[in-house]
């Protein structure tokens, strides 16, 4: 596959977490408002791109037996960088995302891409893969967060968009709404791809 195909597969064909059902915890937990979803997505993208980059560079150096531990150390280092940068420059967002920033370490998408892609492919392809997957993840999180914010609070990125007599369904901002909403979006994606194939 060419570099551009590596990039675009993360945007629709294998878009996480809708197609590649991994990394569900941050997906469900932080998507209560559009900007939280966007922030989490960008933080994950940063870690994904740089961990893919470094692991691809080190792929011939890391012994096969300890590769998972080595990947985790690489990923954790970039997560600490993100954590400290966010604490310094976007403190309100850091507060909202809370425990889910350190938990980027155990986001299965990142370890999954390191294991399945970056440890076997060249530098540029790995960066393209990380960037594509990261942007796909950001788009998914932003979409899910916007839907939940719209129905649960009547706003979109903080701006009122629903008619004035609209009663928000506050359950959408709570855990049950998160699970229901993601379940229905997955069902909708299945429906769309079945249509594309012409069934």
């Amino acid at each position: 596959m060419s570099i551009s195909q590596e990039f675009t597969k993360g945007l629709w064909k294998e878009i996480p977490p809708f197609r590649l059902v991994l990394g569900l915890c941050p997906t469900l937990a932080v998507t209560t408002a559009g900007e939280n979803g966007l922030g989490m997505g960008l933080a994950t993208t940063f870690v994904l791109v740089f961990s893919n980059l470094l692991i691809s560079l080190l792929r011939n150096v890391i012994p096969n037996k300890v590769r998972i531990a080595a990947f985790i150390v690489v990923i954790a280092s970039f997560v600490v960088i993100v954590e400290l940068v966010m604490q310094a420059y976007v403190y309100p967002l850091y507060k909202v995302l809370g425990i889910f920033i350190p938990l980027i370490v155990v986001n299965c998408i990142i370890l999954g891409r390191a294991e399945a892609f970056a440890s076997k492919n060249k530098l540029l392809a790995s960066i393209a893969d990380g960037l594509g997957m990261g942007i796909g993840f950001t788009i998914s999180l932003t979409v899910l967060a916007s839907v939940r914010e719209l129905i649960g609070n009547g706003t979109l990125f903080g701006a009122h968009v629903m008619w004035s007599s609209f009663q928000p369904f506050s359950i959408m901002l709570k855990p049950p709404g998160a699970f229901l909403c993601l379940g229905l979006i997955l069902g909708f994606m299945n429906f769309v791809s079945a249509r594309q194939k012409g069934h």
Partner: protein, 191 residues
Amino acid sequence: MSDYLLLLVSAIFVNNIILARYLGNCPFLGCSTRIDTAIGMAMSVVFVIVMASATTWLVEYCVLVPYELEYLETIAFILVIAALVQLVEMFLQKSIPALYQALGIYLPLITTNCAVLGVAILSIQEEYDFIQTLVFSFASSVGYGMALVVLTGIRERFAVSPIPVHLRGTSIGLITVGLLALAFMGFIGLV
């Protein structure tokens, strides 16, 4: 004593680690199709979460805090957890083969279960002492196991249910978890 009881009930039912705190969802959905797999996974999770929280608590207060290295918390914890899981696996294989047979295949998966790291970090954030950490981690993991077994019980019935084609698989699983979470919200008034 009543403090500990309160902590126990709150971590199992009210702030259930999956249904209210959104931790450990990937193995939750992945391992909930057969009841014996679910029980094996639930037991290993209890075992690992309690051990990992106790160890990371000691690492935090015996190593990181005295040397002012708190910013290394994330790296230190994940390494401790990964090493611990590996050690437990080797120990069980050598000394308690029967238990290894039962839990062995789930152990490597647990390193990337965010519930383990999540509970460890939460215990530090809530500033629990050592006993509270033990109680909290035990209760959280029991809550995890309970939710896992309940969901598996429901999902086993899916085989004979007329589910719309496009919702089959993970999709209907998530919707079921949503309804389960709705039911668990009823516990909010309890504590």
